[in-house]
């Protein structure tokens, strides 16, 4: 082994703790970078990736079966610009009773299997429909509500004999080609004797990057069939616009964690290596005196960092890949993608980047050793230079606490730069925790806004009333809303309620009909979070979400004209509300606003919040009994956590934990460095009668000031990052967020995060404190 190799090896052996810290820090940094990088790649354009993987349809054509035959539709695949096609699949609409409510119609497509040349549907649970009465439901279709369980049986009351269907699977089509799928034979049975109302044909186009290209494809396809046979054509660009809102949510927080992780790794690795050089200055002097050149010294110390960093990077890649698998499985479920592992480019980039960062940091730190004059290096002592931090010693000495504690409290001021590093390490850890908790709380707030109530009251299912049009009107209206209100008021445990009627209106300047919710009841305001303006105070007012304001070009205070059943109703926008329903386009208004235009408009559902301590199930059961004579019943509202929230929560927890561990290791390294440098002083203290416990207390006290400062700074940074990231997440989906989503921290929590910083520092100092306590006095005294 060369002399240089021996120096590197002996350096690694002598500084085992620092060697291990470098290895662990690089390992954790690489682990989190592989995880974050993989998810960034996976979330960069999840729709496009899923679209590519599923060979999504650029155009979904719907043909009128009365005007075109299946054979003619098949021939449309030969149209100019079509690269591949799938279909034709028979299509129909069904209305069903679900959760004892009649639901709006579902578009069901008859497909023999989920594969094919276009729109390869991904099964997320169960299996594909193969027999009569079997249905596969789209998990991200227009069919909203609690998750659908495999085996659920629904009734189709509009079909002869009210047949039932059983859900045998759930699936995701990135093209959103259907609300549900069944076998073609089942469609034929349901539509007998006239046959299906239409056919669906799925196309991929040779060029579909712009709306014009997609329109050219549509025109070419339409030309292959009789006039009017192509009744609808949905462009993939429209579907992507709808889908992209959710996918971009992951990006801001992954970037935030990525930046925190990289800066922290650089800081700690830099400190470890700079510390190694600082503590070895005398040794460097000896090496130079023996004939080592400056370049050899630099290489020797850079090597002492790169060896453990290389091992750490390899272990980190393995750990990162192992951790990424389950997280990708979650995002696969969310987006319907099928990523099986980390992209090799991510692994290569992360390892190369980490080693480059270590090499540059080590070179910069070791270069100082190379520049040191031999005589100066040999003369360097290990005690703090005279004059630094003495004022702190005097001040601390006057504090009414045991002397070992005051001695420790003054230590950080003797080495301000190193103490600043501890503050930074602790601050990063505290910031990560503060941010993670805040992000989780913000997402929970969003979830709470979406989980509108505990109990829901409506009409129980049954055959539709004569003349009713369940397919277009949704749940039937309650026959006596006033009596329902009396029952709710009389029921013990009722904290608040609102009655809801649904209709659709058009608004000048906005294409298509918009969901409109007409509200009654004194407590409606408590179910929504305002962003700006005020809540409804009476008829003639509406509150809307940010996307509505953006789409209509209106502001709070402006008036708009709603057209309902052909009648124009002029209303004023009095408030901006956080409401994600109908992608933020839903209009909220007082029931009286629209009753002039639609006298039959009446509440179909009451949402009820129960008092704290009241069991919603028991409440709903009791209320149902009271409502039975009114033809209504109550049931609890399922409050399932959104899958995206689960993913963000789990990722946040994992990345925060990694950052906290890195912070603790950073503190550990710095305190080890500090303790080793002060080992002779420790010996003096012990010789003067300092017990091991007092020694440990002194070392732990030495991180109290830096821990508190780091905790406070970290909490402040964490709050700022949380606000920035949550706002960015809101902006990326087009929503302004209410204060309740942004201002999630309570003063006591912030205090706790500050204390958390102190805890990181104390935990990081425990190991060196124990070592200091155990060190034998005579050994410490002999140390120069």
């Amino acid at each position: 082994m060369s002399a240089l190799g021996r120096v590197v090896r002996s350096g690694l052996g002598r500084r085992r703790v620092q060697t291990i810290v470098i290895g662990l820090v690089v390992m954790i940094a690489v682990t989190s970078a592989v995880l974050g990088g993989s998810l960034l790649v996976a979330s960069r354009a999840p729709f496009d990736r899923a679209f590519g993987q599923q060979r999504g349809a650029h155009l979904i054509g719907q043909f009128d079966a009365g005007k075109v035959t299946a054979a003619q539709v098949t021939k449309s695949a030969d149209a100019a610009g079509v690269s591949s096609a799938a279909g034709p699949f028979p299509i129909t609409q069904i209305a069903l009773v679900r959760d004892r409510f009649r639901m709006p119609p579902m578009t069901v497509v008859g497909r023999p299997d989920p594969g094919g040349a276009v729109d390869r549907v991904t099964l997320t649970a169960g299996r594909w429909a193969t027999g009569p009465g079997e249905l596969v439901v789209a998990v991200d279709g227009r069919f909203r509500g609690p998750p659908i369980k495999i085996g659920t049986v629904w009734t189709l009351p509009d079909l002869p004999g009210s047949p039932t269907v059983r859900v045998v699977g759930t699936a995701r089509s990135v093209s959103r080609s259907a609300d549900a799928w069944t076998t073609p034979a089942q469609i034929a049975t349901w539509t007998a004797p006239h046959g299906p109302r239409g056919y669906q044909m799925l196309y991929r186009l040779t060029a579909a990057g712009t709306a014009a290209q997609v329109e050219a494809g549509r025109t070419a396809i339409a030309a292959t069939v009789p006039d009017g046979a192509l009744t609808g054509a949905v462009s993939w660009l429209v579907t992507r616009q709808d889908a992209v809102g959710q996918s971009v949510l992951l990006v801001p927080f992954l970037i935030a964690f990525g930046v925190l992780g990289v800066v922290m790794a650089v800081l700690i690795i830099g400190n470890v290596i700079a510390g190694a050089v600082a503590t070895a200055t005398r040794r460097i002097g000896i090496l130079k005196a023996l004939g080592f050149t400056p370049a050899q010294v630099v290489r020797a110390y850079a090597g002492q960092a790169l060896v453990p960093a290389g091992i750490g990077a390899v272990l980190g890649v393995v750990a990162g890949n192992l951790l990424t698998f389950p997280v990708l499985a979650q995002t696969n479920r969310l987006y319907g993608t099928s990523d099986n592992g980390v992209a090799p480019s991510v692994d290569a980039l992360v390892v190369g980047g980490a080693l480059a960062v270590v090499a540059v940091t080590a070179w910069v730190a070791a270069a100082r050793a190379g520049r040191l004059r031999t005589v100066d290096a040999l003369a360097v002592g290990r005690t703090p230079r005279l004059g630094r931090g003495q004022w702190a010693s005097r001040l601390a000495g006057r504090l009414p606490v045991p002397r070992p504690v005051t001695l420790g409290l003054a230590h950080p001021f003797a080495r301000p730069l190193r103490s600043a590093s501890i503050v930074a390490a602790v601050a990063f850890g505290a910031a990560a925790v503060t941010f993670a908790v805040g992000l989780g709380a913000s997402l929970n707030q969003v979830q709470e806004v979406e989980d509108i109530a505990d109990v829901q009251v409506g009409v129980p299912p049954g055959p539709p009333a004569a003349g009713a049009q369940p397919a277009s009107l949704g749940p039937p209206a309650l026959t006596d809303p006033d009596a329902i209100v009396r029952a709710l008021t009389a029921q013990p445990g009722t904290a608040g309620y609102m009655g809801v009627a649904w209709t659709e209106v058009t608004v000048a300047g906005i294409t298509g009909a918009l969901d409109t919710v007409a509200l009654t009841g004194p407590d409606a305001a408590q179910y929504y979070r305002m962003v700006s303006g005020t809540w409804l105070t009476g008829p003639g007012e509406i509150v809307v979400a940010t996307p509505f304001l953006t789409a209509s070009g209106k502001r709070v205070g402006d008036t708009v004209v709603l057209t309902n059943h052909g009648t124009d109703v002029t209303v004023r926008i009095v408030g901006e509300v956080f409401n994600t329903e109908d992608r933020g386009m839903q209009i909220l208004t007082d029931l009286a606003t629209l009753q002039a235009a639609d006298p039959g408009l009446a509440p179909v559902t009451f949402y009820v919040t129960v008092r704290s301590g009241t069991d919603p199930s028991a409440y709903a059961e009791t209320l149902s009994t009271a409502l039975q004579p009114l033809g209504a019943e109550a049931h609890t509202v399922d409050q399932d956590t959104d899958e995206l929230v689960i993913i963000v929560d789990s990722l946040t927890g994992l990345l925060s934990l990694l950052l906290v561990i890195v912070a603790g290791l950073g503190v550990l390294n710095l305190v080890v460095l500090e303790t080793r440098e002060r080992v002779h002083d420790l010996g003096v203290h012990k010789a003067l009668g300092m017990t091991p416990r007092q020694t440990a207390a002194m070392v732990i006290s030495s991180v109290v000031v830096t821990g508190v400062l780091g905790g406070a700074a970290g909490a402040a940074v964490g709050v700022a990052v949380q606000r920035m990231v949550v706002s960015a997440m809101g902006s990326s989906t087009g929503f302004a967020l209410p204060d309740s989503v942004l201002d999630v921290y309570r003063p006591a929590q912030l205090l706790l995060f500050g204390v958390g910083g102190l805890m990181i520092a104390v935990v990081g100092a425990l190991l060196p404190a124990g070592w200091a306590g155990r060190t034998r006095t005579v050994t410490a005294l002999r140390t120069e």
């Binding site: 005690t383 003054a410 203290h685 010789a687 017990t691």
Partner: protein, 230 residues
Amino acid sequence: MSMPLIELRAVTRRYDEGPPALREVSLSVARGEAVAVLGPSGSGKSTLLNLVAGLDRPSAGTVTVDGVRVDELSEAASARYRRARIGLVFQFFNLLDDLTVADNVMLPAQLAGIARGAAQRRAAELLTALGMGRHVSAYPGRLSGGERQRVAVARALMNRPALLLADEPTGALDTAAGEDVQRLLTDLHADGQTIVLVTHDLALAEACATRTVQLLDGRVAADTVTEPVR
């Protein structure tokens, strides 16, 4: 006959594979004695001092000081033992550079839990008695070698120890400062302080000690009662 302050019985201290630093040394020191331990480098002088101070433990034999079996003490107990019974003076002073002279001197008392006010009074009294009264607020780095050793002696006496142990107290001092420290130790002994000092300095031994113990290769080669030269 009163119990000796220090009693070593067949004490051996062995480090790793080499020859023992001390071989079955037995030694008694009475209260009020001033004993100089002499011998060449590697003869076991500092090892003997460390064993008496409870800084190190013998491989065999017993060390009893002021009725305490020092060789049986835990780290914490030996720290408390030093606080209560031992004053240590080192060759290179071992003052803490970031503490003032007064704070250095007060430290043993404060580690023992004595209130700051009481410790301050005692430190001021000692520093004045040792001629360092005007340096209480100074930092050790600004003092001469002799002055630093005076501060170290003041610190050693802070808790009124039964035994003062000095390891080459003049080894790092020039002649004038060495003589100054020599006078200080002589005066302390005259006031009744029991002292064990390890030194190469025969003049110091002759001036301060009532008895000299010669160590050679870890054994007591000679144990002589002398009269200090005044």
